[in-house]
């Protein structure tokens, strides 16, 4: 059973190389961040802003919790 699973895991890897062969674009240093019109860069920027805001709100939350504890 284990061997079958291992072999089945191998299949995607094999097909993946086929996929790479299929796209023979001219020189493009296509790591993820530069693909699809570099949309991933936008996603990274937006997620950074979101996480910053969320962290800020979470810290405020904790501060107010502490104030509440003190006043009780």
């Amino acid at each position: 059973m284990k061997i079958i699973r291992k072999i089945s895991l191998l299949f995607p890897a094999l097909f993946y190389s086929l996929l790479i062969q299929a796209q023979d674009k001219p020189v493009q240093m296509a790591d993820t961040m530069r693909s699809n019109g570099r949309i991933y860069v936008v996603v990274a920027v937006v997620l950074t802003i979101l996480s910053g805001l969320i962290l800020y709100v979470a810290r405020l939350d904790r501060k107010i919790s502490r104030l509440e504890k003190e006043s009780n």
Partner: protein
Amino acid sequence: MHKSWWKITSVVLLVYTFIAGFLGNVPHLPLLQETIRNLYFHVCMWFAMMILFTVSVVNSIRYLRTFNIKYDIYARQYAVMGIVFGLLGYITGAIWASYTWADPNKAAANSFSTIARDPKLIGAAIALLVYFAYLILRDSIQDMDKRARIGAVYNIFAYAILFPSIWILPRILPSLHPGNEGNPALDVKNDISGSMRLVFYPAVIGWTLLGVWITTLKIRLQLLNEKKMSA
């Protein structure tokens, strides 16, 4: 942080919104093009606003039933957060409209007179102004009980004008804004595509929960203040 499961839900849904919102599949429509992704942001602002205003009016009614000053504070803070979302919705809508409704041959500012005449925009502006008036009215009264009572009654009136100004009037009049026929963004058959709905509904919930989170912080601060004053 107390009772944090829904805060975590909000964060998870928002992260999902931002990832799937930019990378997910969207229908290719003329004029709209990639701006259709604004559905996950602009439209969600209005949904969050409507939900927060509803929570606000419910708290006003609760105040009038119990005369517990706590509910007055709830109602006011939810209304403020609703206004914040409404303003964000208005600003994002203005940006979106100036690149989709405006005449591409003119500068965006020159099409302003056509766009500004749109009934949906005027309705939304009226609704927001009515809520500004709520804040001014409530906060200008010194006496605590009077303030709470008049504020609560006015809040119910404000909610009542919200319906005709953003849901009924814009649908009677011709408008550039989509979703005039039937139920905007909730029409299952012929509105937004299925793959967009997978992102849109979680986005609405995520944004709304974020608004609720910030509101609860403000409420807790306000309650602390009241306690300090009375102590």
